[in-house]
């Protein structure tokens, strides 16, 4: 059948973004693209241990990947949420779960009842005791969610923690199997059409010229096509998110292989801990205005739990994004389009959203401005909402023990965020979006976890009799405890489900 002409799609850059995009395009638009990916082994891949959000499961499923196989290959572990330590104040710890608080059976959200009982002076345990996902995480246990919505074990989702350096090759095998072509080489020149300004071709170091209709920039921070060649301006968010460097260092796992990622506040930023099957990933994200590279490396080395498996590796970045992710016939995906620190594990999520939007708005040979503008609108929305959510973590603190924390605590935040905070503080109201990555429970977890407790609550929470409410809460807590106790330990579950090959 004579279908429409195939588009020649050229992806510049392998790594997580490049191979995710390649695999998705050849899998979902097999008759529409002929795909060519250019990558250079001489250029390093950023991918540190990657923690993800539950949305990744949709991606894995769409690609027809078997979860257990993929997890074994990438030495993955399960993730029920993110633990934040020392954020609101030193000594604090809370979990942002991929799940709800309570069971969602009340007239209003659970945290309103919780706030009411506290306001009445009742001795109520912390909010996370009423989240099955949180308590499962705290107990280092894991099992897949129950499909029956009446079961307590249906009240959560999960994501993966995996080795990003193994994720890209895994996707590469899939993409190449489905017809993606790969060329090893370094791009030295971007050739543009004199009239339209579109990218016509790229020239590699060995002189090879590769022509294309659509160019996807997955070149990382360098933003080789969109930033360098097309000179798309960068919108800098450094004043709100001052962390601009990181140092990464994997180590042997000394403590538990937790079913959650940890983000531990540090003097000039925060430190991630991502436990995989074979090691633990660590890194310190910091603001160079507040600490030196040497000091940061020293602090990280001192903090990691086991023997280092590599030397500290430095990274530089800047929070913000390109004004447009799609310009002319060039679309940047991943770090080439922008960067938000991995505090809430949004890097791969943003790549995935860009891929989804690209597939839904996949262009013809002549790019339509309608598609391009809509793509840019969708990506902007994602960036803006994540940005506000990240700023909240820094700003909602009482810490004044370092210059860095003093700065973020007292800085001016976007109006869109200060209004959200005020609405929550007054009556526990979460500004609702139907689009956007973080839903109500995420905002509630971070607000409450960082000490923004509602002063009031939804008046409808007053309907229930106080004693009945209290008994209901105790019963829920007991049910959570007994259900958690029946779930296998995280590592045992992994051993059974998706253990990596012994000597891979």
């Amino acid at each position: 059948m004579a279908g429409p002409e195939r588009l020649r799609v050229v992806i510049v850059g392998g790594g997580t973004s490049g191979w995710m995009t390649a695999a998705a395009l050849v899998r979902l638009l097999p008759r529409r693209v002929s795909l060519h990916l250019i990558e250079s082994e001489a250029i390093g891949v950023i991918g540190v241990g990657e923690a993800t959000l539950p949305h990744i499961r949709g991606f894995v499923e769409k690609l027809g990947i078997r979860e257990a196989d993929f997890m074994a290959w990438t030495r993955g572990t399960f993730k029920l949420g993110i633990e934040f330590r020392d954020w609101g104040k030193l000594g604090d710890s809370y979990i942002h779960p991929f799940g709800t608080f309570g069971r969602g059976k009340g007239e209003v959200d659970f945290h309103h009842y919780w706030t009411r009982l506290r306001a009445e002076g009742a001795d109520v345990p912390p909010l996370e005791h009423f989240s099955y996902a949180c308590m499962l995480a705290r107990a280092n246990r894991f099992d897949l969610p129950d499909a029956d919505p009446d079961k307590l074990a249906s009240t959560f989702g999960y994501a993966y923690q995996f080795d990003a350096l193994l994720f890209a090759p895994y996707l590469r095998a899939i993409a190449e199997d489905l017809g993606a072509r790969r060329t090893e080489g370094r791009v030295v020149e971007v050739l543009r059409d004199g009239r339209s300004g579109d990218i016509a071709a790229i020239r590699l170091e060995d002189g090879q010229v590769i022509e294309g209709d659509l160019f996807i920039d997955c070149s990382g921070f360098r933003s080789l096509l969109l930033g360098e060649a097309l000179e798309e301006p960068f919108e800098d968010w450094n004043h709100w998110l001052p962390a601009d460097r990181a140092v990464a260092m994997p180590c042997r796992t000394q403590t538990a292989v937790t079913p959650y990622t940890s983000a531990i506040a540090m003097p000039a930023g925060w430190r991630w801990r991502i436990p995989l099957q074979h090691r633990t990933g660590n890194g310190y994200v910091y603001a160079s205005a507040f600490t030196s590279d040497e000091e940061a490396a020293r602090a990280l080395t001192h903090a990691v739990e086991g023997a280092p498996l590599a030397d500290p590796r430095p990274l530089r970045f800047r929070a913000g994004r390109r004004r447009r992710s799609w310009s002319h016939n060039c679309i940047a995906i991943g770090l080439a389009s922008g960067f938000l620190e991995p505090l809430e594990s949004t890097s791969i999520y943003l790549v995935q959203q860009a891929i989804t939007a690209l597939i839904e708005l996949f262009p013809e040979k002549q790019v339509s401005p309608v598609d391009r503008d809509e793509f840019n609108r969708l990506i902007d929305l994602e960036y803006d909402r994540i940005r506000d959510f990240l700023i909240l973590h820094y700003h909602a603190t009482t810490r004044d023990d370092t210059a860095f924390w003093n700065y973020v605590r007292t800085m001016t935040v976007p109006d869109s965020l200060s209004e959200k905070i005020e609405l929550f503080r007054r009556a526990g109201r979460v500004v609702k979006y139907r689009e956007g990555v973080f839903l109500d429970a995420s905002w509630i977890a971070v607000y409450v976890g960082q000490g923004i407790l509602p002063q009031g609550y939804d008046p409808r929470a007053d309907q229930a009799d106080g004693a009945v409410l209290m008994r209901g809460m105790q019963a829920l807590q007991a049910e959570i405890t007994s259900t958690v106790a029946r779930v296998p330990e995280h590592l045992r579950y992994i051993d059974r489900y998706c253990a990596m090959a012994a000597a891979a």
Binding site: P30, R32, F362, E374, L423, E435, Q455, D458, P459, Q463
Partner: protein, 476 residues
């Protein structure tokens, strides 16, 4: 509870009684009083009999089932609206509620249909809606089983006097205080809000929060000089003629026919005409229309509900829906303490976003019309609001619909009207092309066959209602 405790609802139409009933039923600790002054003639939410499916959710929250809402009040069911003569051709289409067709793989049905329609003649889009097929065949059944008739939507046609009486009884039952009388005046508070509402007997009713359900005159909220947004340049029809219904047989949906400078409808309980100019073709009561919305429906301690906040012609029967939605929003956002300007601002943001998208949906019928005549060419050539222009741009390019917050009409509704009015995407989406055309055509054929089989033996709407009533009486 330290927030507002005493709420006064002013207005004795469906809007007022619904507000009082919902507030008291869902927040029993509130002290709810209603001053049920007679609804003004131009309060469309109180006067138009056809409602959207959302009324069922409103009833659910109150614990009112179909027996009370429909059978005991003499109401009827409706599946949607049949539009005649809008696209400029002779054919018509049905905007019915609920899903159309079935997705295949990653390709939603509407993209598959658009692709099939591009390749050759196919059955119209509404032929793949169970509700539309029933409406055309003059049949009705409630959603049932898990087959072709499992998921269609439906609204109600209210018998207005009996429905209001039912709500009144409900209010008294749940403990709403009813204070009869006429509205003689409004006493302003020194801080800008309202201090009390004066009755004709000289007494005053005071509250912490006032819900203005008095129709477009907004007899409380109108005192506060809140700014308004004018929509008349897009929706120029400025009067409505309303008359009692005259249908011989209970119709399964309304019929809306485009005229020289407006449109007229025939429904189960009423009929009417909406006009920008010229003489009406039916006899009835003339009501003035001025499309627009308040930018601050919640101002100080007064919240405008329904037509007091949004004035729009009843083309898609959204007036009462907007009132219900405002009531739900008030309940969801009742302040916990002294009301804060940010809480009002958030309420107003949501309310306005909702009103504008209803406006867009109503306007969609006009801007995509290809009728001859000065009126139709004028409305079709006026630059639409950016949100509607954005929707049309995306749809015309490749059949995509953008997502808007606070949207009333779902994708299926937008698609029914867009395709019904003859709007087609410029090109075929790659997702639809991933499915072979022959498979698509085969699946579409099978779907219609199943639908036809399922509908063939169904009762007429009148017979269905009669059978339901019989069962109710047998049980009683």
């Amino acid at each position: 509870m330290s927030g507002p405790r005493r709420v006064l609802v002013v207005g004795g139409g469906i809007t007022g009684w619904s507000a009082a009933a919902a507030l008291k039923r869902r927040v029993p600790l509130l002290d709810v009083t209603i001053l049920p002054i007679a609804p003004s003639s131009d309060a469309l939410a109180d006067r138009i009999a056809a409602t959207l499916p959302s009324i069922l959710g409103f009833h659910d929250d109150l614990g009112i089932g179909l027996e009370d809402a429909v059978l005991r009040t003499g109401s009827a069911y409706r599946l949607g609206t049949r539009f005649h003569g809008w696209s400029g051709r002779e054919d018509d289409y049905v905007h019915a509620y609920g899903p159309h067709g079935e997705a295949m793989g990653s390709a939603p049905f509407h993209l598959l249909w658009a692709r099939a329609a591009e390749a050759g003649p196919v059955a119209p889009f509404d032929a793949f809606s169970a509700a539309a097929a029933m409406a055309r065949a003059g049949r009705f059944v409630l959603p049932q089983g898990d087959g072709a008739l499992a998921a269609h939507g439906f609204g109600l046609v209210l018998d207005l006097p009996r429905y209001v009486a039912m709500l009144g009884a409900f209010c008294r039952h749940v403990g709403v205080r009813v204070e009869p009388g006429a509205l003689a005046g409004v006493e302003r508070a020194s801080d800008g809000g309202i201090a009390g509402v004066r009755r004709d007997d000289g007494s005053t009713l005071a509250a912490d929060l006032y819900l203005d359900c008095t129709g477009p005159a907004a007899r409380l909220h109108g005192q506060l000089a809140a700014p308004r947004e004018d929509w008349r340049r897009w929706l120029p029809c400025d009067r409505l003629v309303l008359a009692p219904g005259a249908a011989a047989e209970l119709p399964p949906c309304e019929t809306v026919e485009a005229g020289t400078a407006g449109w007229r409808w025939t429904g189960a309980a009423d009929r009417g005409e909406v006009l920008a100019e010229g003489a009406p073709s039916i006899d009835g009561e003339t009501i003035k229309l001025a499309a627009g919305a308040s930018l601050e429906p919640w101002r100080d301690n007064v919240i405008a509900i329904g037509d007091a906040a949004v004035a729009i012609e009843p083309l898609e029967w959204s007036n009462l829906h907007l009132a219900h939605s405002a009531i739900d929003r008030v309940i969801a956002m009742l302040p916990a303490g002294i009301p804060h300007p940010l809480e009002r601002a958030e309420y107003n943001r949501q309310a306005l976003a909702e009103a504008r998208r209803v406006r867009d949906f109503v306007l969609l019928h006009y801007v995509t019309s290809r009728r001859e005549g000065v009126f139709w060419q004028d409305v079709a050539s006026t630059e639409p609001p950016e949100s509607l222009a954005h929707t049309l741009r995306l749809f015309r390019e490749r059949g995509r619909l953008p997502y808007y917050e606070e949207e009333t009409f779902d994708r299926d509704s937008w698609l029914a009207v867009l395709f019904g009015q003859g709007v087609r995407p410029r090109r075929i989406d790659p997702l639809a092309e991933a499915v072979p055309l022959a498979d698509t055509l085969q699946a579409m054929d099978t779907y219609r066959t199943h639908l036809a089989q399922a509908i063939g033996h169904l009762p007429t709407p009148a017979a269905f209602l009669a059978a339901q009533s019989r069962k109710l009486h047998e049980r009683a």
